[in-house]
Amino acid sequence: MLSAGSLKVWSWLHTWTSLVCTVFMLLLCLTGLPLIFHHEIGHLLGTEAEPAEMPADTPRISLDRVVDIAGERHPDLGGMFLSQEMDDDRIWYLTMSPTPRSHDGLKQVAVDARTGEILVEPQLESGFMYVINSLHIDLFAGLPGMLFLGLMGFLLLISLVSGAVLYAPFMRKLRFGEVRRERTKRIKWLDLHNVLGIVTLVWFFVVGATGVINAWADLLVDYWQEDQLSEMVAPYAGKPVPEQIGSLEAAVQAARRLEPGMSVQFVAFPGTTFSSPHHYGVFMRGNEPLTSRLSKPVLVDATTSEVTDSRELPWYFKVLQVSQPLHFGDYGGRGVQILWAVLDILTIVVLGSGLYLWFAKRRRRSAQSVEISDATKLSGGKA
């Protein structure tokens, strides 16, 4: 049982960590809701590629053709990344940029992998989902915004732990799930806050903790580049940058020969942060539910199309990649996806009721102090 002193500390911790992060958590829960359904919303808005139905074994066109087709659309831009969704190998998404390391002026073209038709040109820096996504990830503030939301997420985790500690003293006289509806509105919402909070605790904690990990994504990628990628490309240090880069198709085929049991997740063109000026960085992923989340980089010499290095990602990168499905809820089919949204709404109720309880307690306290001062006035004492 908690002593009166430690109860006070936990209660202070719960109140203040919650108060600081609640507004941001409400924002994250609200913006997270459409993000759970971003594919469905994309279909509704017409921003999602809709490839024609064709037999599954329809031959695919060469990736060099894909690059040419997108290049005709944006002649002033060069290839940056080529990627494919996990469950749809009919579409290639080619991200193009003024230079391989540009941050602005990026364009994306979705090309049908079988016909070469340009299906859609996803807007990377405008539109409804862009706004929602930016609010959710970085508040339009880049890395500082991401880290700030990560810090708010960390406060949420403290608030969840302290909330769980406080659950027991509140429940000493109550049955599990008992909600005292016949008493005041405040007591009813206190009981609901406690029961909804404790039942959703594990889910909320996992989504919160994986969100905090994702806030570090950019820094982890930077660290991996320093830690591993630089080592992998070290033999090319000092060599002159090739003037003409070789075939993308040949590079991807070389990576596929090395890892026949894997699929292409994305390819980084030479000169980007995921490759070197001499290499294509081909990132492969597994085809099993868990391995499909983990990528394996294969570096291919852009001139000779020979694989020069390939190694497993380090543990911190794996942690980041496994944390993503647990944050997005996109890994268990339609059922899990819908429950993710319902649990998200339940946590909005927990957050909202927590905020309400804080206001109600303050109002009650100030009402009591007014009563006390009125009473002292009436009895002739000094207020």
């Binding site: 889910w203 268990g332 899990v336 109720v349």
Partner: protein, 69 residues
Amino acid sequence: MIRPRRGSALNIWLWPVLLGMLSAAGLAGALIGDGWWDIASTAALGVVTLVCFRFWLVPSDATVRAPRR
């Protein structure tokens, strides 16, 4: 059936711990496999959600019978 004493740690924590374990199993299951794993995960997380709505929307007998203090 043994009825744990009201207010005991067992009484307070039994259901929260069971539902927490069910949530954890539901979260992990769909990560391990597809097909039946997804269905099992949906069922586990579905139970957790239903418990929430049960207590939120349906007044329990306990509250009707509970003596006013």
